[in-house]
Amino acid sequence: MSAADTRRFESSLSDLGVSLTRTEADEFAATIDSLVTEPAVGVPFEAHDGLSLADTVVETPPTPRLLKAAEVGVTPVGKAVAEYGTLVVDSDPVGTEPVSLYPPTHVAVVRESDVLPDVEAATDYLDGRFAAGGSSVFATGVSSTGDMGALVEGVHGPKHVEVVLITDR
C-alpha cells in the first residue's frame, strides 16, 4: 500500500459510483451507524483487527431471515485492488460471501494497508488462499445487467456499494 494506491483506489471507486468513507478504528462503530439503514446484517468482525459491530445497529450473526430482509450487509474484505476499485471478498464460515451479496446495499470495510495497486499484486494473496482451500471474489461496483434492453443496476447482487476505509490499520 502507498498513498498513491489509496488515491487511485478512491478515484476508481468514484468512477464506479461507489462512495468511500475514511475512518479510524476508534470511530468505526459510529461511522457504520451513520452509514447503514436498518435492518442491517453483518458478520462478526472480531478476527478483523479487533473491529467490532457489537456497538452498532448491525445485527449479527447472519440468519436466512436477516439475509432476505436486510437493506444493508456489512462485511470486511480481504484486500482491495486500486486499479479497478475492486473489493476482494473472501468466503469464510461466518458468512462474508452471502452477506456481501444478498442485501441491496453492501458496506465493505477495507483496511488502508490492504489496498494493493493492481490485480498482479493480488496474485500472491490469492495463491495462498487457494492453496489453503479458500475462495475469494473480485467484486467491482454493483451488480448489473443489460439483458433487458437497457443497463439496470442491482440484479442478483447489490444495487449500492459503499466502502469504509480504515485509515489507521
Binding site: P64, R65, K68, P98, F130, T140, G146, D147, G154
Partner: protein, 735 residues
C-alpha cells in the same frame, strides 16, 4: 434440394433475421464492440497480456493430461469429486446420477455454454427436475424456448419491447411490464425465490486452476455466486480446455476477458471458488437459525467434458480453438455478425467467429457447413482475439474439409476450364469464385465482348442459377490492355540508372485486368520518387481459392508467386503490392502455405504501395515529385490492411501532402471479396455496407477513396459514385 433453391432459402432466412432481429443485434453488438475498443485503448498492457495469455493456453493445452491429473488430486483433497466425461451422454449420465442421489426437485443454473453443448437441461427435465437459468439473458432464452444468439449475450437479439412482450404473454402480470427496470426486478425476484429453494446449483467455469482446484466464474449479475453458494450441492461443468495452472496464470485472463467481451475494465464479479467453499450453507426453511447450522454438508462435483476436445488437441488446425476463452470479441468485431447476429450463423451450440472451430470439433463438419460461409475472411477478428487465435484460418481449413466432402455437381461442366487439378469436389459456385485469376485473364483477352456478354440479362440469370452470382451486383469490367501489356509497351525499357531502389510491383489479378489505372499510378509514383520498377508475373496470389477453402489450389498459387518473385528478392528488389488482401496473403496467410524461409523472405520484403511511398518520403524522397492535394477525400481503408496495421501509412501520406481527409471506422464495408457477389449474401452485404454509407452520408462533396478492390466495388454500388485508389491521388499526374 438444388443448389439454387438452397441459396434462395438461405437468402430468405437472412432477410427474415435482418427484419426481425437485425436492429437489436446491431445496436447491442455495436455497443459491445465500441466498448471493447475504448477499454483496450486505455489499457497499455493489452498486447503484452495477449502474448502471455496465448503462451499460457499453448502450454496448458500441451500439458493437458498432466493438468487433469493435478486437478483431480486437488479437487479430491479439497473434498470434491472430479469426473471427466467422454461425451454429452456420459456427462449427462453422471450429472443426473448426482442430482438423483440428492432427490433434487429443482436446480438453478448460471450461464454455461458447455451445458448448452451437452443439453443437460433436457436430461434433467426428463428425470423430473425443474431447471432454472438464472442469468437474465439466458432466462429470457429459456422462457422463449430459443437458442442463444451470442456467446456472452445469449438474448441480445431481443429488444426490450420483445422481452416485455414475451414476459407479459408468459407470466401474465397484473400490470404489464414495460421498462427494463420492471423486467429486471421481476426476473430477479422470480429467480431469487428459485435460488433460495433450489436443491442443486449448477455453474460453468471460465477457468479452472489445476494446482488448487479453484474454479473461476466471470459475471456481472451475481447469479453465479448465488447459484454456486446457496444450495448445498454445487455441480460445475466445463470443457477440459478450461484448465490453467494457478492464480499467476489466471491474472492475464482476469484482465483481458471483460475488456474484450463487454468493454468493461473488469467484470463486476470474478468469483474464484475452491469448492466445497467455506461459506456457511443457507437453509431458508429455518430462517432464524444462524447460517451454517442447517444440515448442510457441502458437496461439490466438477464435471469436465471431453466431447471431441482431445481430438481437437491432436488436430494441428483445430487445436487453437481450445485456447478460446469465450469472450465473443470475434463475433462483435465481425461485420456480418453485427448485422444479422448468431442465429444466421447457425450451429448447434456455438455461433459466430470462433464457433466454426468449436462446431467442427464438437458437432462435426455437417453442422459446421451450415454457417461457416458467413466468414468473409476479412480478418478483423484476428486482432480482437485476446489469445491471438487465427480465426479466419480455422474457417478456411474447415471450409476446405467441407469442400472435400461435397458430392460432385451435375453442373460441373460449367466450371470445367476452372477445375483445379488439386481439388476435385468443390461446388461450382466456389470453383467459379476460387478461379478469379483465370476468369480475369479470359475476360480481359476477350474484352470488351466479355463485359458486354456478362451484362446480358439471360447470362446473368444463368450465372445466378448455376453459379450463384448475384444478379444485381455490377460485375468487374475487364480491360483489354492489361497493366502488364501497358508496362511492356513503354519505352525506353532500360533500367533507371539513377534509381536508389528497385521494386518489383506485384500485378494482382484486379490491378492487371480490371483496375489497371491504379497499377499505372503505382508505377508512375514509384518512378517519380526515384525507384526502378519492374513488374512481376500476373499470377493470382491464391486469395481467391483460399476464400473458398481451396487450400491446395491456394498453395499452388502461393508457390508460383514465390517462385516468380524469388529472383527479384535475390537481386535486392523490394516487393510492392497494390491490393491489401494480397499483401495480407504474403504477410499472413503464406505462413500457412509456404515453407518458413519463403514466407519469412516475402513477408519481410513486401510492402503495401502507400506504406512504401511513406517509407520513401520518410527517407528523403522528394514529395514535390508527386501531385499536390487537389480534392477533399473520404477514405475507407481495407479490413485486412487495418489488421496488418498498414492503413496509417495511407492516411499519413495523404495528410502530409495536404489532403483534407476524413476516414471511416466501420469494421467492414460488407463486401470482403467474393462474399458480396454471391446470390445468397448480396442483401446482407449491402446491409453491412449501410454503416459505411451512413458514415460518409454527409461527405457528398468529397472524393471517395478506398485501398481494396472489394471496398471499391462495394462503395461504387453503395454510393453510385466513382471510387479512387489513394495512389491515383498522389501519382505525379494526380487525379
Amino acid at each position: 434440394m438444388s443448389a439454387q433453391r438452397k441459396r434462395r432459402r438461405k437468402a430468405e432466412r437472412i432477410r427474415h433475421l435482418l427484419e426481425t432481429e437485425g436492429d437489436a443485434v446491431h445496436e447491442n453488438v455495436t455497443h459491445l464492440n465500441e466498448g471493447r475498443y475504448e477499454a483496450i485503448e486505455r489499457f497499455d498492457e493489452f498486447e503484452d497480456l495477449r502474448t502471455q495469455a496465448r503462451r499460457i493456453k499453448e502450454d496448458a493445452i500441451e500439458n493437458l493430461p498432466d493438468l487433469i491429473d493435478t486437478l483431480r488430486e486437488s479437487v479430491e483433497s479439497n473434498g470434491g469429486t472430479l469426473y471427466v466425461a467422454d461425451d454429452a451422454d456420459d456427462a449427462n449420465r453422471y450429472i443426473t446420477d448426482v442430482v438423483g442421489s440428492k432427490d433434487a426437485e429443482t436446480l438453478v443454473k448460471s450461464k454455461s455454454m458447455t451445458t448448452e453443448e451437452i443439453e443437460v437441461n433436457e436430461a434433467l427435465e426428463a428425470m423430473g427436475v425443474d431447471v432454472f437459468e438464472t442469468d437474465l439473458g439466458e432466462f429470457v432464452i429459456q422462457v422463449a424456448d430459443e437458442a442463444p444468439s451470442h456467446l456472452i449475450g445469449p438474448s441480445l437479439h431481443k429488444s426490450r419491447e420483445a422481452v416485455a412482450e414475451l414476459f407479459n404473454r408468459v407470466f401474465d402480470p397484473e400490470e404489464p411490464f414495460e421498462t427494463a427496470e420492471e423486467l429486471t426486478e421481476f426476473a430477479r425476484d422470480y429467480l431469487g425465490e428459485r435460488i433460495r429453494d433450489a436443491d442443486v446449483g449448477m455453474t460453468g467455469a471460465n477457468f479452472v486452476l489445476a494446482e488448487s482446484g479453484t474454479i473461476t466464474l466471470v459475471t456481472n449479475e451475481g447469479n453465479a455466486r448465488k447459484s454456486a453458494v446457496t444450495p448445498d450441492t454445487h455441480v460445475a461443468v466445463a470443457g477440459i480446455e478450461k484448465i490453467i495452472p494457478n492464480a499467476e496464470t489466471l491474472q492475464p485472463f482476469v484482465e483481458l476477458i471483460s475488456k474484450t467481451a463487454t468493454g468493461q475494465d473488469i467484470s463486476q464479479y470474478v468469483s474464484m471458488l475452491t469448492p466445497p467453499v467455506d461459506s456457511p450453507t443457507i437453509d431458508f426453511e429455518n430462517p432464524d437459525e444462524p447460517l451454517g447450522s442447517g444440515d448442510g454438508e457441502r458437496d461439490f462435483h466438477l464435471v469436465l467434458i471431453d466431447n471431441g476436445r482431445t481430438e481437437m488437441r491432436e488436430d494441428d488446425h483445430l487445436r487453437e480453438t481450445l485456447y478460446c476463452i469465450r469472450c465473443g470479441a470475434c463475433a462483435n468485431s465481425c461485420g456480418n455478425f453485427q448485422h444479422v447476429g448468431g442465429h444466421a450463423f447457425g450451429g448447434e451450440t456455438y455461433t459466430g467467429g470462433i464457433a466454426t472451430g468449436w462446431e467442427a470439433g464438437i458437432e462435426g463438419l455437417e453442422t459446421t457447413s451450415e454457417f461457416n460461409d458467413l466468414c468473409t475472411g476479412c480478418s478483423r477478428c484476428v486482432n480482437a482475439c485476446p489469445v491471438k487465435i487465427d480465426i479466419p484460418w480455422i474457417n478456411t481449413v474447415v471450409r476446405d474439409r467441407i469442400n472435400g466432402e461435397t458430392p460432385p455437381s451435375e453442373f460441373e461442366f460449367l466450371v470445367e476450364g476452372l477445375t483445379p487439378d488439386a481439388e476435385g469436389t468443390v461446388s461450382p459456385q466456389k470453383r467459379f469464385f476460387g478461379n478469379f485469376g483465370t476468369l480475369a485473364k479470359l475476360g480481359s483477352a476477350t474484352a470488351p465482348v466479355s463485359n458486354w456478354v456478362a451484362q446480358l440479362g439471360p447470362v446473368r440469370t444463368l450465372m445466378d442459377r448455376y453459379l450463384g452470382v448475384a444478379p444485381d451486383r455490377d460485375l468487374p469490367q475487364f480491360e483489354r490492355e492489361t497493366l502488364v501489356d501497358w508496362f511492356e509497351s513503354r519505352r525506353p525499357r532500360a533500367p533507371n540508372a539513377t534509381a536508389d531502389r528497385a521494386v518489383v510491383l506485384y500485378p494482382d489479378a484486379y490491378t492487371n485486368y480490371v483496375l489497371t489505372d491504379r497499377g499505372k499510378a503505382a508505377v508512375r509514383t514509384l518512378e517519380a520518387l526515384g525507384v526502378h520498377v519492374e513488374l512481376g508475373s500476373p499470377i493470382e496470389s491464391g486469395r481467391a481459392p483460399l476464400s473458398q477453402g481451396m487450400v491446395r489450389t491456394a498453395t499452388d498459387h502461393a508457390e508460383a508467386v514465390a517462385a516468380d518473385l524469388d529472383p527479384y528478392l535475390d537481386a535486392g528488389f523490394d516487393v510492392v503490392v497494390v491490393e491489401p488482401s494480397d499483401l495480407a496473403m504474403m504477410r499472413r496467410e503464406y505462413e500457412k502455405l509456404l515453407d518458413a524461409d519463403s514466407h519469412a523472405r516475402l513477408s519481410e520484403n513486401s510492402y503495401e504501395i502507400m506504406e512504401y511511398v511513406y517509407g520513401l518520403l520518410s527517407n528523403g524522397a522528394d514529395a514535390d515529385a508527386l501531385a499536390g492535394a487537389t480534392v477533399p477525400v473520404a477514405y475507407h481503408s481495407h479490413c485486412q490492411q487495418r489488421t496488418l496495421g498498414v492503413d496509417a501509412y495511407t492516411e499519413a501520406v495523404l495528410e502530409d501532402l495536404g489532403f483534407d481527409i476524413v476516414t471511416s471506422d466501420v469494421e467492414c464495408c460488407g463486401m470482403a471479396g467474393s462474399f458480396g457477389y454471391k446470390s445468397e449474401y448480396y442483401e446482407l452485404s449491402l446491409d453491412v455496407g449501410e454503416d459505411l454509407h451512413d458514415q460518409f452520408a454527409d461527405e457528398s462533396d468529397r472524393t471517395l477513396v478506398a485501398s481494396g478492390t472489394s471496398c471499391t466495388e462495394q462503395m461504387a454500388d453503395l454510393f453510385v459514385r466513382d471510387v479512387t485508389h489513394p495512389v491515383e491521388l498522389v501519382a505525379p499526374d494526380g487525379r
